[in-house]
Amino acid sequence: MAKKFVSPPIDLGLGAAGTDFTRADIHFRGVDHAGPSFEARVFLNNPEADEHTPQTLDHGYAGSFHVYGYGVFPEGPRTAAGKPPEAPAERYIMATEAVRRAAHQGKKATVTVVPVVTGMADGNRLDAPLKLDGVSIVTYNQ
């Protein structure tokens, strides 16, 4: 099973409108996409989630994003230094209802990201496909 990411409790970014926001996104900063491809399933307040966890609001499921990896081989060629496409990606999912549900439980929530590998190139390691720099939650009031 591929290694998952579990954040510490992070602020839900609730503004003056409280839980009455119109949209909420979960942002993922610095998502590496140099290796294998995978689906990243995102859960709120469910650090025990794994690839068998039902993808329902009741289990904190907030949505998923897909990483289409470069499939770069450990010892193989990489894109020339500084070429934009190889830089880690910024990804987000729109997760309004899941964040609203978490907001009813408190002002902070943990974010768990469970990678499920969907594609690989020869030589790719599959045990830890997910690497990211950070996660945040943004709510919008209009």
């Binding site: 294998p36 897909h66 499939g71 060629p77 990606a89 020869d122």
Partner: protein, 282 residues
């Protein structure tokens, strides 16, 4: 080929791209003939060369791109314009081999795809008594690759539903749209490539990673579907609805800038207006 400065030039006759499932016998034969001929060419008119622009060995494609690092990082998302340029120039090269060929789109939301998965045109082992060039190609990129492409597609029921494309088309901002359409695009790559076992060893299908995806002939029809979705989005939300800072950016290695690829009519093609399916019972 590029649009005039004002972006209003329209080619006198537009090439019509169609749903692969709606191609006539002669249209499908022309497509196969063009691919087969390209696959025999070893110079820069050949299939191996063009496929190698995307991943190995040239690595030019754009996916979820950004410029800079750390707090200076800025998303620069040329995914849609770069792949539009790639497809039109490949199509020109293909039509040099057979003028009757045009890249068709694979509608992975269709009832047919949700029933059989990969369309028959791409899945059949042979066509006209010869190996089907839409099923697989040879990757020759020394020293890593000298083999035919492979696919291990997932369950048809896991393909996106039509409503997911409708939801994309309802997004009004370019940044939301390009992010979400890429996500569906990424998902289809994983679905089509998949994972399998060859010689007792776990391997990935070629569509599954950027490195070899463009060597699988279905790649171009998957991207034709993505390009068509962008075109449909442009019809609803504006042809020039893209950050103005992108307009002058060059779509390396192609001699085109973002502003040159916003109008598909200026590029000389059009999409058939419907992807209606007709089921014929024998």
């Amino acid at each position: 080929m590029a649009a005039d400065k004002g972006g209003s030039a329209v080619a006198t006759s537009l090439l019509l791209r169609k749903n692969v499932s709606n191609l006539s016998g002669p249209e499908l034969a022309a497509l196969r003939d063009a691919y087969a001929k390209m696959m025999k060419i070893t110079d820069n008119r050949g299939y191996n060369y063009w496929s190698g622009i995307h991943g190995v060995p040239q690595w030019f494609c754009w996916h979820h791109g950004r410029i800079g690092n750390g707090s200076n990082a800025q998303p620069v998302d040329l995914f849609l314009p770069w792949h539009r340029a790639y497809l039109i120039l490949l199509e020109h090269t293909m039509r040099d081999q057979n003028a009757g060929a045009a890249i068709p789109w694979w509608d992975w939301t269709s009832l047919e795809s949700h029933t059989i998965g990969v369309p028959k045109a791409f899945a059949d082992k042979s066509a006209g008594g010869k190996p089907n060039p839409l099923r697989q190609a040879h990757i020759k990129v020394p020293p890593q690759f000298n083999r035919t492409t492979r696919r291990f597609p997932g369950s048809p029921s896991d393909l996106p539903a039509p409503g997911e494309v409708q939801a994309l088309l309802a997004l009004s901002s370019f940044s939301d749209f390009t992010s979400q359409v890429q996500d569906i695009h990424d998902r289809i790559h994983g679905w089509t490539g998949g994972m399998g076992v060859v010689g007792g060893k776990q391997v990935g299908g070629d569509m599954g990673t950027i490195s070899t995806a463009a060597f699988d002939p279905i790649f171009y029809s998957h991207h034709c579907m993505i390009d068509r979705i962008w075109y449909l989005w442009q019809l609803q939300h504006g042809q020039n609805n893209i950050p103005s800072t992108y307009l002058g950016m060059t779509l390396t290695p192609f001699p085109l800038k973002v502003q040159d690829v916003l109008n598909i009519h200026s590029l000389g093609y059009e999409y058939a207006s419907a992807s209606a399916e007709v089921t014929v019972h024998a």
